[in-house]
């Protein structure tokens, strides 16, 4: 807690604004059901693609649903998917990376070669394959995005584990008979925390963009559940009829990713100065 407090002390104006924006967005997402906004699922075919009005502060979508309610509930989904995906990617990736670091020279280079192949796969293709397997659902989406980004975590974790393994005091501990699990628990994992935190913040914005992209292509959460990417994907078809509705989720997505990136930069500066090139 005190570490967090000291972190917060050193913020510039941009970061503070970004943190405030993120705070509002997260709070709105968390407390969506209690905000007294309209039902995001109530359709009104007589009133589609409407401009903002008293009844609908941000207008309506292609089915006459309230855009304010959709965008708030959509943020809930977008943020939750990204957070869960980062959790999946981080835990699988770190376990993999650390495990590979203990495989021995041959195994290491072979395993990393495989990881490299996965890193170089065009992400969208992997997503299409996996989603075709699992079918479109919230869990499938989280799993897919999580898997997409776990090689990156594995790479980082492997690199860290290898360098920590080679440190003098660790070599000393090993020569004194310290087991692998002891090493991992007491040396490797604690030393990796800040690097993983930075990687997680990076991945969070990637994951949000990936969720948006997949939903945009129609591979995301099934309707009528809103997510920002899915809303953009559906509403972009009406761009030439009324460009307003598509701008609402577009801006929400943009502002959120922007805020995350600003906060991520700051986090990177604070937690991990040597990563900053």
């Amino acid at each position: 807690m005190s570490a967090a407090a000291s972190l917060l002390r050193n913020t510039d104006a941009a970061t503070r604004v970004a943190l405030a924006v993120l705070g509002i967005i997260v709070a709105a997402a968390l407390f969506a059901p209690f905000l007294g906004i309209a039902d995001p699922f109530a359709i009104d075919p007589a009133n589609i693609l409407a401009m903002p009005s008293g009844a609908h502060p941000l207008g309506t979508d292609e089915l006459g649903r309230d855009l304010l309610a959709r965008v708030v509930h959509g943020g809930r989904v977008s943020l939750a998917v990204a957070a869960a995906a980062v959790l999946v990617a981080g835990s699988i990736g770190v376990v993999l990376g650390v495990a590979i670091a203990f495989l021995g020279r041959r195994g290491e280079s072979a395993a990393m070669r495989v990881v490299d192949v996965f890193v170089s796969l065009p992400e969208i293709f992997v997503a299409i394959v996996v989603l075709a397997f699992l079918g479109g659902s919230l869990a499938a989406l989280i799993g897919t995005i999580g898997l997409l980004y776990c090689p990156q975590f594995a790479r980082v974790a492997y690199g860290m584990a290898r360098s920590i393994k080679a440190r003098d005091h660790v070599l000393a501990a090993r020569s004194l008979g310290a087991g692998r699990l002891w090493l991992i628990r007491h040396e490797i994992l604690p030393n990796m925390r800040s690097v993983i935190a930075v990687q997680a913040s990076l991945t969070f914005s990637f994951a949000m963009l990936m969720e948006a992209g997949l939903s945009f292509l129609g591979l995301g959460v099934p309707p009528p559940t809103p997510s920002w990417g899915q809303m953009v994907g559906a509403l972009k078809n009406y761009l030439f009829i009324n460009p307003w509705p598509v701008l609402v989720p577009s801006l929400a997505l943009f502002v959120t990713v922007l805020a995350i990136n600003v906060v991520g930069d700051w986090l990177q500066d604070r937690l991990n100065p040597e990563l900053r090139r």
Binding site: I128, V129, V232, L239, F254
Partner: protein
Amino acid sequence: MAKFIGRRLGSALLTLLLASIVVFASIHLLPGDPVVMLLGEQAGSDPAAVARLTRELGLDKPILSQFLSWAGGLAHGDLGTSLRSGEPVSDELVRRIPRSLELVAGGLAVAVLLGLPLGVLAARDRGRPAGILASVVAVAGFSAPVFVSGIILVLVFSLWLGVLPSSGFVAFSEDPLLHLACLVLPSLAIGINFMGVVARMTRASLIDTMAKDYVRLARAKGLSRGKAMTRHALPNALVPVIAIIGIRAGNLLGGTVIVEALFDWPGLSSLLVSASFARDYPLMQGSLLAIFAIFILISLLIDLAQGLVDPRVRTAEG
């Protein structure tokens, strides 16, 4: 140097081989049957028709033997024929690859032409309003999803100003001007995102380099800060920037999926997507392999270029 090139080439080929196995296996595991897609909504549920076409296409053989015959063809430069059109996959790739490269090149041009000055500005005026603004623009570009910036570009240039086509493709040989006009918005959409990456990288690298001894020395000798930056620091600061550009250029190619879909650009990614939706296996394999090969080729070239510039890279490889 020859040894270095040989080693890099060898590992590139190995990656390609591994990738092609992964690709082949995953494609054949997809639900949905290419034969049913070929036969259509009605004949596709006729078991006799399905069985016959499956046999004709050799899809009844075990996956391993299918892979071996595909790999055998590949060794002779034969990528097979598309299940849907019956045309050689290579013909299709030859048509599509230049279009995607054009898109990537356009995106890169936008990114470099906008990103470098932005990065230099951000580094030079670090902490001052101009520099902060430049940084914010860079992060903003980096944060806008491609489809969001694409939609806004269409809105502004096509719907409101009416100066550029909102999407579509015309062959260069038919109408060069229109061809280039169609290229502008998708290139911008890709480029703006990438511009952020280039600008951030340039800024960071330049700030680092400015702190190096030889730059300090140059300044101590009386060189102005601006001159020291452009003459001495910038060329060296660009090395990691080039590396990042190389790494990301390959990604851009795979990531053009959304841009090609949004702007209806008949490139490699849209070929991959339409082949995937139709389960046209040979075409999927071919287009993916092309994407991979281009990706690997680019990183190989970047490695070699860096090896030439910086001898340390040649020996540092573990």
